[in-house]
């Protein structure tokens, strides 16, 4: 399946193939394994240099687990994650701890909650400097100077280094988190819901900052979010994920105009449209199924309104869409369905 995503090219920075992450469900006093939660179940995609790929899905779809597998906060159950850097290919899954340290400089993570991801006992200078200390880069003065530069880069002031996280607002804290993530000059940043804890008026500031920094430092982003309008705005390509599997990959211009998977259509239809002042239609009934016991066949068939007998039996493969570059869909009825995209209200 993953081979179909296309052979890796020189411009790829990250290639994920057949990624699986199962969490054991333990029961009883002997912690006997009673089953597995299939959080990620065979996911493959690639990320190009300087590109932003958005990962969207409901909670429980496995989007955060994918991000954490890439930075190796989780050890994947199966599959490969290749990282291309400076002409070398590094296999992130089978890397030893010590080798991983070197790679971590190039892959950084930005967290959702700017309140719990900053140590309240460290001042801002120490927080931004910490990655440099861990990797033993520069003298203390050099590190402090670098921290001050970074704070200016993210729109804070140099003398904020002596302040503590509680003295900052949510948006400012997220900027500190960004400065910390950038301190080692990474090539890839995994952004896990970086704006969803922020107020609306602050969201735009942080999104613009991320876009500017990407241009300036030629960063690649894997942008995990549940808000489709945010993902569409920041991403070049969008991956729609449901119950640990990819439903659709397409460029962000294409996906909202012409979704090719019923789940993408449903997600687009559930976005509230304030221009209209009218009601949206509810196309999705019920909840996301239990990932420990996913439905047979297409995992989406229990909530799909175009379901057919075949969908219940056969798992659809992620196939390229004819004549649309960069588009992949996992749906048996892809060719026959004509799904409606996002319409702005009047």
């Amino acid at each position: 399946m993953s081979e179909r995503i296309g052979a890796p090219t020189d411009s790829d920075i990250l290639v994920v193939r057949g990624l699986k992450k199962y969490f054991p469900i333990q029961k009883g006093i002997f912690r006997k394994v009673a089953g597995y939660t299939k959080a990620v179940d065979g996911v493959g995609f690639s990320l190009r240099k300087g590109e932003t790929v958005g990962l969207v899905g409901e909670s429980g779809s496995g989007k955060t687990t994918i991000g954490r597998c890439i930075v190796r906060l989780y050890q994947p159950t199966e599959g490969t994650i290749e990282f291309h850097s400076e002409g070398r290919t590094i296999d992130l899954v089978n890397l030893q701890r010590r080798e991983m340290q070197g790679v971590r400089r190039r892959i950084q993570m930005l967290f959702q909650d700017p309140f719990s991801s900053l140590n309240p006992r460290m001042n801002v200078g120490e927080i931004v400097r910490e990655p440099l200390v861990i990797h033993g880069l520069g003298s203390k003065d050099e590190q402090l100077d670098r921290a001050q530069q970074l704070l200016e880069l993210v729109g804070l002031s140099r003398d904020h280094v002596t302040k503590f996280p509680h003295q900052f607002s949510g948006g400012q804290r997220q900027r500190i988190g960004i400065a910390r993530a950038l301190s080692l000059n990474p090539e890839l940043v995994v952004c896990d819901e970086p704006v969803s804890a922020l107020d609306v008026s602050i969201q735009a500031q942080v999104l613009n900052l991320l876009a500017d920094l990407q241009k300036e430092m030629n960063l690649s982003y894997l942008f995990i979010a549940h808000d489709l309008s945010v993902v569409e705005y920041i991403s070049d390509r969008v991956i729609v994920i449901y119950l640990g599997r990819i439903m659709e990959i397409a460029s962000s211009d294409v996906i909202y105009k012409r979704p090719r998977h019923p789940y993408t259509e449903a997600l687009l239809a559930s976005i509230p449209k304030f221009e209209a002042g009218s009601s949206r239609r509810v196309v999705l009934e019920g909840n996301i199924p239990d990932p420990a016991d996913p439905p047979s066949g297409c995992v989406f068939h229990t909530r799909c309104r175009y379901v057919q007998e075949r969908c219940r039996r056969e798992v659809p493969e992620l196939r390229p869409v004819q004549e649309v570059p960069d588009s992949f869909v996992a749906c048996h009825r892809q060719a026959e369905l004509s799904l409606s995209g996002y319409h702005r209200g009047v």
Binding site: E58, S59, S169, G171, Q172, D199, V200, S201, I202, Q203, A204, Q205, L207, N208, A211, H226, D227, L228, S229, V230, E232, Y233, I234, Y256, K257, A266, L267, L268, A269, S270, I271, P272, K273, F274, E275, A276, G277, S278, S279, R280, V282, L284, E285, N287, I288, Y342, R344
Partner: protein
């Protein structure tokens, strides 16, 4: 009778037929339900006094839905809580203004002057005005079943024995479209999913057939697809029961979908009030305009126009207009005096000096 065991209330403006169809309806007749006049709620904290709600006024008619939008800390939740005298005790107090509730067939009650622990307010809480909250896991009790909690509410307010109350509880769960209500009624909140818990919460709130439902960020903790389900459920129940709805949210999309008119709040003050369509078609206050511009919209990759700065510190509010520090259109008069209310095009209310001054010059 579409509302279960409850007789459909016959509103003054409607005459209903045998099967509940509307025979005559006077759409222009509005029956007042709630009026809030110059409400001020203050918190006493070590750093000083926080004016969480500072001179908020609005009116609600029966069957009408009002949206309150604003960022965190703008006072929207405190406004809602104070309507039922549920503002945090003892640090917060109603420092001024009146809240008047107009029951259907008895004289108006001035809620703001009632004793917080008295009988009078307890007869209104839950019975006349009910509330649903953002996170149902923390607002439902984990040690009682869903059924026990609904039955308790019913029996507090209505003369029913346990059996009748249980039947009504099951029927309420059915109305909020929880599958297998006979089994669910005996389950605990942790056994339900997030969307299901929010449905149970709605069932609990509606079990005493309130005239006003206050929904405080009812879908913020939910996924978009579940959010769509819950909002359409609330809207459907509201229309069927001719209930009034006050929906509090930071999401302009939710307001656009649910509300007849919108109050935009900023640091404790209403800055703009308008019919929902009118607000989105023609936003007037610089804050509302900036807020709408800063949202990413599908289909547009233009750079977002963000609002500079951040919300001012609530105990060190600037003099004059609270938004002036972040406003692009600030000028002299914004500095000293808070802007007066200004009606533009009928009932579109905005608190901004720009419009006030323009009106002065054009006469």
């Amino acid at each position: 009778m579409r509302c279960g065991t409850w007789p459909t209330r016959i509103r003054n403006r409607r005459v209903l037929g045998k099967t509940g169809e509307i025979l005559v309806e006077d759409v222009n007749h509005k029956e007042k339900l709630l009026s809030v006049d110059n409400l001020r709620v203050q918190f006493r904290i070590p750093q000083g006094i926080v004016r969480a709600v500072d001179g908020v006024s609005f009116e609600m008619a029966r069957g009408e839905s009002v949206g309150v939008v604003g960022e965190s800390g703008c006072g929207k939740s405190v406004t809602a809580l104070s309507l039922m005298l549920l503002h945090p005790q003892p640090e917060a107090r109603i420092a001024g203004g009146t809240i008047t509730y107009h029951p259907e067939d008895s004289p108006p009650v001035e809620i703001s002057s009632l004793d917080i622990r008295g009988e009078a307010i307890r007869a209104i809480r839950g019975r006349e005005i009910a509330m649903i909250f953002q996170e149902p896991m923390t607002s439902l009790s984990p040690v009682y079943t869903i059924g026990e909690q609904i039955i308790e509410a019913i029996r507090l307010h209505r003369n029913m024995d346990k059996k009748q109350a249980r039947e009504l509880a099951i029927e309420m769960l059915d109305q909020v479209r929880i599958s297998a209500p006979q089994q669910r009624v005996d389950e605990y909140p942790h056994q339900l999913s997030g969307g299901m818990r929010q449905r149970a919460m709605i069932a609990l709130a509606l079990s005493c057939n309130p005239s006003l439902l206050i929904a405080d960020e009812p879908t913020t903790a939910l996924d978009v697809t579940i959010e769509a389900q819950i909002l359409s459920l609330i809207k459907d129940l509201q229309q069927r029961r001719q209930m009034s709805l006050m929906i509090i949210t930071h999401n302009l999309g939710v307001v656009g979908e649910m509300a007849d008119y919108v109050l935009v709040m900023y640091v404790g003050k209403v800055v703009e009030k308008a019919r929902t369509k009118e607000l989105f078609r023609n936003p007037l206050h610089p804050y509302t305009r900036a807020l709408l511009r800063s949202l990413p919209r599908i289909g547009s990759k233009d750079r977002l126009l963000s609002i500079p700065g951040s919300v001012p510190n609530p105990y060190q509010l600037p003099q004059g207009c609270p938004f002036r520090g972040r406003c692009e259109e600030m000028h002299e008069s914004c500095r000293d005096e808070p802007p007066p209310p200004c009606y533009v095009e009928g009932d579109h209310l905005v608190y901004c000096w720009n419009y006030y001054n323009a009106r002065e010059t054009t006469g």
